[in-house]
């Protein structure tokens, strides 16, 4: 509890309410937009589940400035993200890479959907067969007799 409180205070302290501060902004609006998009997908390493764009922690500010420096230096968006990941680990990625074991995470939804659709397809065929093959020969005969009568 104590520790979580400290983290909480670190994240919300100081430049409260203004995660991205005016003096951090780049003059070039296109670069700035790119910086915002990138920072919204990077996690603050100190906080609980906040992007560096939302966090007020010092480390988040450092990371925001780092992202902007790399952009000004001419890096592409992927290069910037790779640069940050190389230093802080994949923990900072709010959107996990779609490679390796993470495929399980990304594809679980569509996979289950296909599986159930297939299951439902089989089930519907079974139900159809059942309802069609319900009458025995005797019953058929009975019906015929009744109809002919």
């Amino acid at each position: 509890m104590k520790r979580s409180m400290t983290i909480f205070i670190l994240c919300f302290w100081g430049a409260l309410g203004s995660a991205v501060e005016p003096n951090e902004l780049l003059n070039d609006p296109i670069l700035e937009t790119r910086a915002r998009v990138i920072s919204q997908a990077l996690r603050c390493t100190q906080c609980r589940n906040e992007s560096i764009d939302e966090s007020n922690a010092d480390i988040a500010k450092d990371l925001r400035l780092l992202v902007r420096r790399r952009l000004v230096a001419g890096d592409s968006d992927t290069e910037v993200v790779n640069y940050v990941v190389a230093r802080y680990g994949e923990y900072v990625l709010l959107k996990p890479n779609i490679i390796g074991i993470n495929l399980v995470l990304w594809l679980s939804g569509p996979f289950i959907l296909l599986l159930t659709l297939f299951g439902l397809f089989l089930l519907s065929r079974k139900v159809e067969n059942c309802s069609i093959a319900k009458l025995t020969d005797q019953e058929e005969k009975k019906i015929k007799d009744l109809l002919l009568r």
Binding site: A15, G17, R48, S51, L94, K95, G109, L113, L120
Partner: protein
């Protein structure tokens, strides 16, 4: 003394809960009326005792009884009365007691309203409910006793987390718990039905009001939480895909599915096993949510009171009730044969699709929430799963759901023909037109906004068309509209509410405008047709905090609209700052201002947003809940019991 009595009352209640779960169960299988009859008595007694304990805790908080540990840790004499009371559930121990109180309250309600149920089903429902109460009471008494004393009572308490000192958050937990715990009743009904080995249309009818009640509370609770995050956390987001939020969202998704599949059970005696499974899953996810919030295994912005020991206890409860139920289901599900057969194009199929999409979207949320845990435990990798993942992986299912909703809700039961769909073609074209228009107006930007608007319009207009079709042709249309059943009105209202929420989400996500700058006193900023002047920034004092209050004038075309007063508060007792955004809400947009630190040049960091349709998100949630409420008052739930008796007489 009162506290000791309350503690003692909880112990008695535990004994009653244990007896109340064992004796009626035995009685039901032996068909012994005397043993079954104790169930309602015990249920009401438990409610009385736990209610007494909870009242005692409230008295302790209100009177600032600092001999109790929870009061010391979570209260302070200077706190406003509302937050002294809200402080009761603003901590682990108290909120758990509230959880148990609501459990017993629902048990007492089931005991009261269920008197007309078949005797064995009635006894079994109450027994299962009592077993859940026993488990949670044990949890309270063994690990989280709210009546624990301190040896040296201090002069004052340590205060409540300032973020929780807010009207929105004061009532958010009770609503959420009413929802979570309300699902325990449907769970009890499901287990009782499995024990009885019988699920029929009347079962569907008995369960539905309980599901509806839980769902209404969950909807309101989640809506409140989202609204709170919007105005209190300072960047105006409404949903963060935080583990704790997901914990409340998963039961909501499942209970929404349950609401719909229970209709199929009730009307067509189909999908029985699936509905039972959903009822088990819904409460299972409530328990998982409780585990996530209280064990601290997943870090999140607003999880409180994390303790591994408590986590382990909830895990046992979860394993017993969830695992046990699934086992029972596996053994007994065969008993429930479905009667009604239906074609691929029918209302039933549409509801199956609804269930499928809701269940899978819940599954996606679940996998995303626990993935960091799995990665760390199994692969020893520390990674994060955040909003970008959920936006991508979750949204398609909800989009698909919204696309089929108006189609499905106009289809007839059992077997439909494609001509039944013709009424919707004009709607579809209209909505596509809207998408095109929105897209043309903002070419080059994300498609999210136009698609969202189109979907939302499709939902809302779909509802109108459905109502129109229901009243048919010819004279007396209006009169027939009034003669529609309340359930139909509820359905229409709830579906329209969903559409309105989607309008809000689309508008806010796609067309929000933001401005961050340093403003000097008296300076004016122009944003999206509005002009905002920073008039003053002054330091003042609140009841238990210091505040920096800024005043800004909001103008449009030179006309003064309002004064915005954003604050930055500092709570000395907790040594924590909070922010209160200045928000001007209007029908089509919110103007949202946060004033930050003073800068080196004497100006202030000001962050301004214009958020289109922001209010629609929460209004939609309220309208959805209202739809549920209307549906709950439908005649057939009130007369269900007497009708059952009539049927019996007729059979004789």
């Amino acid at each position: 003394m009162l506290n000791e009595l309350a503690h003692f009352g909880l112990n008695i209640s535990l004994v009653l809960a244990v007896l109340g779960s064992i004796v009626p169960l035995i009685g039901a299988s032996l068909r012994r009326t005397d043993m079954m009859q104790i169930a309602p008595v015990f249920a009401i007694l438990q409610f009385g005792l736990v209610g007494f304990a909870f009242a005692a805790l409230i008295i302790a908080f209100v009177g600032s009884d600092f001999s109790l540990r929870v009061v010391v840790l979570n209260s302070h004499t200077l706190k406003p009365m509302l937050y002294k009371v809200a402080g009761v559930w603003g901590n682990h121990e108290g909120s758990l007691l509230l959880w148990v109180l609501i459990l017993t309250m629902f048990a007492a309600c089931a005991a009261w309203f269920g008197r007309n149920l078949p005797h064995t089903l009635y006894a079994r429902v109450l027994a299962v409910q009592s077993a859940i109460t026993a488990a949670f009471l044990l949890f309270v008494l063994l690990t989280s006793n709210p009546f624990e004393r301190v040896s040296l009572p201090p002069f004052n308490g340590q205060g409540l987390n300032p973020l929780l000192q807010d009207p929105g958050l004061a009532f958010h937990p009770p609503f959420l718990y009413l929802g979570y715990v309300g699902l325990s009743v449907t769970y009890s009904f499901a287990i009782a039905a499995l024990l009885e080995g019988k699920v029929d249309a009347s079962w569907g009818r008995w369960v539905r009001p309980w599901t509806l009640a839980a769902w209404i509370f969950l909807t309101i609770g989640i809506g409140m939480g989202s609204w709170w995050a919007y105005y209190e956390l300072g960047w105006g987001g409404f949903w963060f895909w935080d583990p704790v939020e997901n914990a409340s969202f998963m039961p909501w998704l499942i209970s929404t599915a349950l609401l719909h599949s229970a209709i199929v059970v009730e009307k067509r005696e189909s999908l029985k096993a699936w509905t039972i499974l959903l009822a088990i899953l819904a409460f299972g996810f409530s328990l998982i949510g409780t585990f996530i919030v209280r064990s601290g295994v997943l870090t999140s912005v607003h999880a409180f009171a994390s303790d591994p020991m408590r986590g382990a206890f909830i895990l046992y409860i979860l394993a017993f009730f969830f695992g046990g139920a699934l086992l029972l289901f596996a053994v007994r599900a065969k008993v429930m044969e479905s009667r009604g057969v239906f074609a691929v194009l029918s209302r039933e199929s549409a509801l199956v699709a609804n269930n499928l999409l809701l269940a899978i979207s819940c599954f996606v949320v679940f996998v995303g929430t626990v993935w960091p845990l799995i990665a760390e435990l199994i692969m020893d990798r520390k990674l994060s799963v955040g909003p970008p993942f959920f936006d991508l992986a979750f949204t398609p299912f909800i989009v698909a759901l919204a696309v089929i909703l108006p189609i499905g809700s106009t289809l007839p039961w059992k077997r439909a023909k494609s001509r039944h769909l013709t009424g919707l073609w004009p709607v579809a074209l209209l909505c596509l037109g809207l998408v095109g228009l929105a897209w043309a107006m903002q070419t080059g930007r994300s498609l999210l906004g136009p698609v969202g608007l189109g979907l939302a319009a499709w939902l809302v207009v779909g509802v109108v068309v459905e109502l129109y079709q229901r009243v048919g042709r010819g004279a007396g249309k209006i009169m027939r509209l009034f003669r529609l059943r309340l359930a139909d009105w509820g359905k229409a209202t709830a579906h329209a509410g969903l559409g309105i929420t989607i309008f809000g989400v689309a508008g806010l996500t796609a067309w929000q405008v933001e401005d961050i700058r340093v403003m000097q006193l008296g300076e004016t900023v122009e944003l999206a047709g509005y002009s905002l002047t920073l008039n003053s920034v002054e330091n003042t004092k609140g009841p238990n905090y210091l505040t920096t209050l800024s005043t800004l004038e909001l103008r449009r075309n030179g006309v003064l609209l309002t004064e915005l007063k954003p604050e930055r508060r500092y709570y000395p007792v907790a040594e924590m700052p909070t922010i209160e955004a200045g928000i001007d809400s209007a029908f089509f947009r919110d103007v949202y201002v946060v004033v930050g630190d003073q800068q080196d040049n004497g100006g202030f960091a000001v962050r301004t947003f214009v958020k289109p349709l922001a209010n629609w998100i929460w209004s939609g949630a309220i309208i959805m809940a209202l739809g549920g409420l209307i549906s709950m008052f439908d005649r057939r739930y009130r007369v269900a019991a007497s009708r059952r008796i009539n049927v019996k007489k007729a059979a004789i």
